[in-house]
């Protein structure tokens, strides 16, 4: 079994993980399962990153999403839990909404995929920079310095803001 097929199989597996995970998020009745399948999906995505030689991103993906986001969400579920966990992840009662949602999402996706497949992509034969991570780091410090700074501020705002919003005042007046 050569590399090519290996890659293909790997890709197939990841696709399954991603799509399955995504579907799981949507269709599991129990929100915990939904969260779990989201994690699966995230892992698949990181796998895709690997397959695209974006190792650094893949690691970040695992760290941030699987490590942070999923946990945060889990906490949120805990905090907002009710007595029983079954049936916590239902579709909305409004059928037209569901139908239309399906329609919209489906058509949008369909159109996009169909176009994307037929689209003549101009693949460039350039080689990746030798040391990818180093390259990214330098880019962060140089050409993307401003976004980098902004991102810092943004995260600060998000964290502080989350506290501001959610913090329970101990001494209620």
């Amino acid at each position: 079994m050569d590399a090519k097929t290996g890659i293909n199989i790997a890709f197939a597996v990841m696709s399954v993980m991603i799509i399955g995970g995504g579907l799981g998020v949507v269709f599991f009745r129990n929100i915990f399962y939904a969260a779990a399948s989201m994690v699966v999906c995230f892992l698949g995505v990181s796998g895709i990153y690997f397959s695209l030689r974006a190792d650094f991103l893949a690691v970040m993906q695992v760290l941030i999403y699987v490590g942070a986001v999923a946990i945060v969400i889990a906490f949120a579920i805990m905090l907002t839990r009710r007595s029983r966990m079954v049936d916590t992840n239902r579709f909305t009662g409004n059928l037209t909404q569901v139908a239309l949602g399906l329609l919209v999402a489906g058509m949008l996706g369909g159109v996009l995929i169909q176009l994307g497949i037929n689209n003549p992509w101009k693949i460039s034969g350039e080689a990746l920079p030798p040391d990818l991570t180093r390259y990214l780091g330098e880019a962060m410090m140089s050409r993307l310095a401003i976004p980098f700074e902004i991102a810092a501020v943004l995260l600060l705002v998000a964290l502080v803001g989350a506290v501001m919003v959610a913090l329970e005042e101990v001494h209620k007046s």
Binding site: L115, W121, A145, I146, P147, V153, L156
Partner: protein, 474 residues
């Protein structure tokens, strides 16, 4: 020199950080207003720095960031919005149990985002500053812990703008995929031929949708009424005056410039959407009984006018957009300043304005002027803005559009004057005068000054906008 270009933003960030760390050193209560004054001071300094930047037209950071008169103009708009908001916010916050420091810091960070956005020349910077604005507003809207409506509004805003940024990102990714670059300049080059695959068109439209949420473009506007009604008035003032201005700057940059090649696609669509926006905003505002909600619809209508100018494009169109955003900022901030001065938590019902003229003549007068300006009564700011916008439209040949929009704008008289009538005619529920702090007074005074002064003596401003408009192309 990079630091020099970023001076205003840096000032605001530092100020924001200082304000945040305030609570580390002193015990803060909602009654303390000094944080806001400090923030306002910082805004003033930043304003000076921004004015200092006028005339420097340079592109820095590998072409991802540009400081030109247009950007500076929008920075000034953002600063004006933030400054006025910070002036009158404390009175409201102290009523609603929000720590002034928190609010101030978030306003400052949000303003930073608004100032960065017009300068962004690549998708990454653009997206991240946009998100900075959004995230600040998520918090600013929901910051009022002791009430439900703000939280609900916050959630709605968060979900919708999250979705829209997803669609925006998707569009960006498509464009990136087709051009191989996130730099606006490069993208312009890629499309300059006028030939583009249909996927590019989709990417363009998706970005339109993503940005459309921030500029009240129908059908991406639906968050506005709920958020306006639910959010604290100072937040809404800042939101209405600042964020859409910044987003418009981005629209000018992205669509006016980098998608110039796709002009034949997005311009007509945007035009139609703009007219629908005007009609929808004006007509749906008619039956509103909550002033904040009514103002949301009026914001939608005004966004429509501005978008007409965006489509009209060219130097005059761009100038009209900038000019309008600034003048509009003053009117809307003044209006919400008045509302916040006496509303109880997320109120703003029209009935609560009854007899305001007797309880607080100054508030009533300011509100009347602000509304008149929004309604386009000359020689107030709003009228001048409208004149510029429609002039641009007619100049680039959109006579019919201008006609329709003008006729639709007549409707707006009804809901604006209805409020004036309630304030001046109806009997007040209780006759005790309304008291408001100095900050509110100052803010409203500045607002009035802006509305009347910029209206009457608007020549220089218009010329500034006109010269700045050249730099829309980078």
């Amino acid at each position: 020199m990079g630091a020099g270009l970023l001076l205003p933003e840096i000032i605001l960030c530092i100020a924001g950080l200082l304000v945040l760390s305030e609570r580390l050193v002193i015990k803060v209560t909602p009654q303390r207003k000094d944080a806001a004054w400090f923030g306002a001071g910082a805004v003033v300094i930043a304003l000076l720095a921004a004015f200092n930047l006028l005339g420097t037209n340079v592109t820095a950071f590998y072409g991802s960031y540009r400081v030109d008169d247009m950007a500076v103009f929008f920075k000034i708009v953002a600063l004006a919005a933030a400054g006025l908001t910070l002036l009158f916010a404390p009175d409201y916050l102290s009523k609603s149990g929000v720590k002034t420091g928190d609010f101030t810091a978030l306003v400052l960070f949000g303003a930073t985002g608004m100032m960065l956005l017009p300068s962004a020349l690549d998708f990454i910077t653009l997206y991240i500053s946009l998100e900075l604005i959004s995230v600040s507003f998520y918090v600013l809207i929901a910051i009022q812990r002791n009430a439900v409506k703000p939280a609900e509004a916050g959630l709605k805003y968060l979900l919708l703008s999250g979705l829209s940024s997803a669609i925006l990102l998707y569009g960006m990714s498509l464009i990136y995929g087709l051009t191989g670059s996130t730099y606006l300049a490069a993208i312009r080059e890629a499309f300059s031929a006028g030939q583009w695959p249909i996927l590019a068109g989709i990417g363009c439209l998706m970005m339109l949708a993503g940005l459309g949420l921030k500029i009240y473009l129908i059908p991406f506007h639906m968050w506005a009424p709920d958020v306006y009604e639910g959010a604290p008035s100072p937040t809404v003032a800042f939101l209405a005056s600042g964020s859409s201005a910044a987003a418009l700057a981005a629209v000018l940059r992205v669509f006016g410039e980098s998608f110039a090649g796709l002009n034949g696609l997005w311009a007509p669509i945007l035009l139609v959407l703009a007219i629908i926006t005007v009609a929808f905003g004006n007509i749906v505002a008619l039956p509103q009984t909550n002033v904040k909600r009514m103002l949301a619809y009026s914001s939608i209508a005004h966004a429509g006018y501005i978008l007409i100018a965006v489509v009209a494009g060219g130097r005059s169109g761009t100038a009209a957009v900038m000019y309008y955003t600034l003048l509009y900022a003053f009117s809307v901030v003044a209006a919400f300043g008045v509302i916040s001065a006496f509303e109880e938590i997320s109120g703003g019902e029209r009935a609560s304005f009854a007899g305001l003229a007797r309880r607080a003549p100054f508030l009533a007068f300011t509100m009347m002027i602000a509304l008149a300006s929004l309604a386009g009564v000359p020689p107030l700011a709003g009228f001048m803005g409208k004149f510029a916008v429609f002039a641009a439209a007619v100049q680039s040949g959109y006579k019919v559009i201008a006609a329709i929009a003008l006729l639709l704008s007549v409707i707006s008289i009804y809901y604006y004057f209805q409020v004036i009538k309630v304030m001046y005619v109806d009997e007040p529920p209780e006759s005790d005068p309304i008291s408001y702090g100095f900050g509110t007074f100052a803010a409203l005074l500045l607002g009035l000054g802006g509305i009347i002064g910029l209206g009457v003596l608007t020549g220089p401003l218009l010329q500034l906008a006109n010269t700045a408009a050249i730099f829309a192309r980078f």
